[in-house]
């Protein structure tokens, strides 16, 4: 099996590799894994609390070329989108863009899971009132 040019491009020049402060309220972190292949993928987003626009995204993936390419592409796609828009990204869009073969579809599923998981984490943080607000209320 050979990788498509787009996979190779993302694999050799991954976009947005890195990490952000997990503790920050504006940052959502998604950590997901696929037991079939042992891949583990971390995707983080920085969201503007006023506009809900994803201003930055970072990822770090340990896995095959397709898993790295899928998460790299995912960070590119979520940047500039609102949280709700990012939730519309489907794994099949990633499959199409990267021409992933059937055996690598789970990599795209993982990337979608990572986006959702990161957004969920961010939302959860937002819903939890900050300690000082609790204090102000009491």
């Amino acid at each position: 099996m050979s990788y498509s040019d787009k996979v190779l491009d993302h694999y050799s020049h991954p976009r947005n590799v890195g990490s952000m402060d997990k503790g920050s309220t504006d940052v959502g972190t998604g950590l997901v894994g696929a037991p079939e292949c042992g891949d583990v993928m971390k995707l983080q987003i920085k969201v503007n609390p006023e506009t809900s626009v994803i201003e930055d995204a970072k990822f770090k993936t340990f896995g095959c070329g397709s898993a790295i390419a899928s998460s790299s592409l995912a960070t590119e796609w979520v940047k500039g989108k609102t949280v709700d828009e990012a939730l519309q990204i489907k794994n099949t869009d990633i499959v199409k863009e990267l021409s992933l073969p059937p055996v690598k579809i789970h990599c795209s599923v993982l990337a979608e899971d990572a986006i959702r998981s990161a957004i969920h984490d961010w939302k959860k943080k937002r819903e939890t009132p900050k300690p000082e607000i609790v204090e102000a209320r009491s």
Binding site: V32, A34, V40, V109
Partner: protein, 245 residues
């Protein structure tokens, strides 16, 4: 075909199995009456060996059966038979090898049984993601978050180690830490293997009483343990590779 008896044809039409040569009801590989080799049936590996769908298997007995059948299917015995029989014996032989290889190994056996029981990890993961997309609910990850966290951290350390090696540097503290983690993961692996064995016993009991609900429960637990076990296996392999290089 000229050799096909009327009875065999009649039985084939009604979906029953009969020997192509003498028409008697047949076993999986050979006719129990006339002993002729039979065309391979699309049966699962347990059925191929005449075994119930259980996870505790008497491996020495299976091995004896394997040798016995291998001998009976040996190409030398079919030198003077019809072309068709030669083909069937070859097909039966390769089926026999696949079935034996799968069933003699307890993990492969478990994975195979789970597939027979309708477990399709990738398919299920994909549809769970689709459900999450539609409902907005959170997909339950098959690997628990704390294990993922550990796996991620360990991979970071492995990457550091590989980078150091590339630069010709050695970091004894890092190597030592990795060794410690490796030992911990090996222990976890052993615990999971033991856990899996308990589920084999549970499964074999459940299958006897034919409880659909309980059967699904045990099945899903085995999937869960296998998933975590695979993860750790891969990880230990990667650590070994990195430390060994």
């Amino acid at each position: 075909m000229a050799t096909e008896s009327k009875t065999a044809r009649a039985l084939a039409e009604t979906g029953e199995r009969a020997c192509w040569s003498c028409g008697a009801p047949r076993a999986a590989q050979f006719c129990s009456t006339c002993g002729k080799v039979q065309p391979p049936q699309s049966v699962d590996y347990f059925t191929f060996f005449g075994l119930p769908r259980k996870l505790n298997v008497d491996v020495p007995a299976l091995q004896r059966e394997f040798y016995e059948l291998s001998r009976k299917l040996h190409p030398d015995l079919y030198g003077r038979t019809s072309k068709q029989e030669q083909e069937w014996s070859l097909e039966q032989s390769s089926l026999l090898n696949d079935a034996y290889r799968t069933l003699k190994d307890p993990i492969k056996r478990t994975e195979y049984l789970l597939r027979l029981e309708g477990v399709e990890l990738e398919e299920q993961s994909k549809s769970a993601t689709e459900t999450a997309r539609v409902t907005g609910e959170i997909k339950k990850q098959v690997v628990p978050p704390d294990l993922l966290e550990e796996v991620f951290e360990l991979n970071m350390q492995l990457e550091e180690l590989r980078m150091n090696r590339k630069m010709g540097e050695d970091d004894p503290a890092l190597t030592g830490e990795l060794e410690v983690h490796k030992t911990e993961f090996e222990k976890k692996y052993e615990v999971l293997t033991q856990e899996l064995k308990q589920y084999w016993d549970q499964w074999d009991r459940v299958i006897d009483v034919d409880q659909e609900e309980k059967r699904r429960q045990v099945r899903d637990k085995m999937v869960d343990v296998l998933n975590r076990r695979n993860y750790i296996r891969n990880l230990v392999r990667d650590v070994n590779e990195a430390l060994g290089s």
